[in-house]
Amino acid sequence: MREQKIALRMVMPYVLIIIAFVVLLLISNIVMSFSTTDGNFTFQNYKAIFTDNVFYKSVFNTCIWVLGSVAGQILLGLAVALLLTQIKRGQVFFRSIILILPWATLDIVAGVMWKWMYNDMYGVLNDILVKIGLAKDYIPWLATPKMAMIAVIVANIWKGFCLSGMFFIAGIQTIPRELYEAAEIDGANAYGRFWNVTIPQLKPVLMTTLMFTIIWTINYFPLIYVMTGGGPNYGTETIVTYIYRLSLRFLEYNKAAALSNILFIIVFTIAYLFTKKMAREVAA
């Protein structure tokens, strides 16, 4: 009982400061989303969202942005993790360059750096692509909606794959060596060991990594803001950039609050589905 008291006293600052603050902010958003600018109750903000073409566009773009970024980050992260756990010497060196450098780069710096590389005239990317024969002509990367989306996804894979890489390295290190030895005795080659030992053993880590990357990508704002500002023609407008635009550019606070609440529901549905599935697998 004494322990209870001590523990509760210890968590109090967190409860009083952080939880109370967050609850206050959440309530404030909910109240705003149901208010007119005069402070009367209304459903108008939600109606405005659901009849807004940009909203549907931003939801669609968010799906593409998440699908592309997450697929790229998971695959690259997994590849790098597998390679890094193969080697002994130089592990810290390669880890520092491949995983730590993009991680340490400021969001805005990553944004401007890629923006400059994508420049259609003076950008180095076009020059390299033409020189090695992958492109016939210079590509105006950020000028058309489709190419701009590909461009921001590539930049985001660069910036974000380090996190899944680190999750996978940690996951691979927990796989017992005996499993590989047993598979080798059974005559499995490297390919077979990967599919029959590594992947099944990594599944729990894979699920959590997937959940975190999906949610972080949905929430990730600075890269798109710096590189395209959501354009051209709403081609890279995601839900978060649209919330930003609604609140700080158009000053439609109440509509932004409504969209914020919709985003909350989306994010928590995803988190709930993942944790439920994971819990069921642990129980089974």
Binding site: Q4, V11, F21, I87, A104, V112, M113, W116, M166, A257
Partner: protein, 270 residues
């Protein structure tokens, strides 16, 4: 054989990953004529530090200092608020423990942009808008949960028997914590603090929206000013970017062991 292939592939990936950053550094040393040259000049013909001088003349020092103030403030507050809950989560069982732990995890999933307007209004209401302490307060809901998750995993890695021995020796709980747990986990605690610091170092959205006075603004805001809608001043922008990235890069490389173990603790163990 496998190992040789791994080294070759890793070298290739490393070159691809490092190239964008290398290109940023190279461009920051080129004159404008070389930046805007067609065809592209890869290595600067004559290295120039004019962009770095330009940055220095724009009072980069002040923005740097502001970033340090906000970073250190956020670090201290997150540690003070986070350290005891983290310890309680790692050692005791109590009512609402799992609910509170879930709240810590959920807070990590909050998109920062959705709280922008409420925080703006709240800070305006308590008269802390456009102050460093206000910005620090705005960061706490995002940095404290990470701090708790990291610290909890460090505390969990200390065997319980260590404190029990101290308790038997007549220390009370607080002294046992200060004398035994604290020294052992100090590197981890420091690393967590630095992590919170670096979070604010990179953060753009809140810093540019909540600090409107020029003399209070931080590095990301300073850099964002060079990104125009029609024209971007690449030279100074890149010189500033190099300056801004070096401190976190060095710290990340030195402390990577702690950052990684803290970060993956939630995903791999348990």
């Amino acid at each position: 054989m496998m190992r040789v292939v791994s080294y070759i592939l890793l070298t290739f990936i490393a070159i691809v990953i490092v190239f964008p950053f290398l290109w940023l550094v190279l461009t920051s040393f080129k004159t404008y004529q070389q930046i805007y040259s067609y065809p592209i000049i890869y290595l600067p013909k004559s290295w120039t530090i004019e962009h770095y001088q330009k940055i220095a003349s724009l009072d980069f020092k002040r923005y740097f200092l502001n970033s340090v103030i906000v970073g250190v403030g956020t670090m201290l507050f997150s540690l003070v608020v986070g350290i005891f809950p983290a310890y309680a989560f790692s050692r005791y069982s109590f009512r609402f423990k799992s609910e509170l732990l879930v709240s810590v995890l959920i807070f990590q999933m909050f998109p920062m942009v959705v709280f922008l307007v409420p925080i703006f209004k709240f800070l305006d209401w308590i008269k802390l808008l456009d102050t460093h302490i206000g910005l620090i307060l705005a960061y706490l809901p995002f940095t404290t949960p990470i701090t708790i998750v990291f610290l909890r995993s460090f505390f969990l890695s200390v065997p319980k028997s260590l404190e029990e021995a101290a308790l038997i020796d007549g220390c009370n709980r607080t002294r046992a914590f200060l004398r035994v747990i604290f020294p052992v986990t100090l590197p981890g605690i420091a690393a967590v603090g630095v992590y919170a610091f670096l979070f604010t170092w990179s953060e753009l959205l809140y810093s540019m929206s909540l600090l409107t006075s020029k003399r209070l603004q931080t590095i990301p805001t300073f850099l964002s000013v060079f990104v125009g809608q029609y024209q971007t001043r690449w030279g100074p922008l890149f010189a500033g970017s190099v300056f801004a990235t070096l401190p976190p890069l060095i710290v990340f490389i030195l402390l990577q062991r702690y950052f990684i173990s803290g970060l993956v603790s939630g995903a791999v163990k348990e």
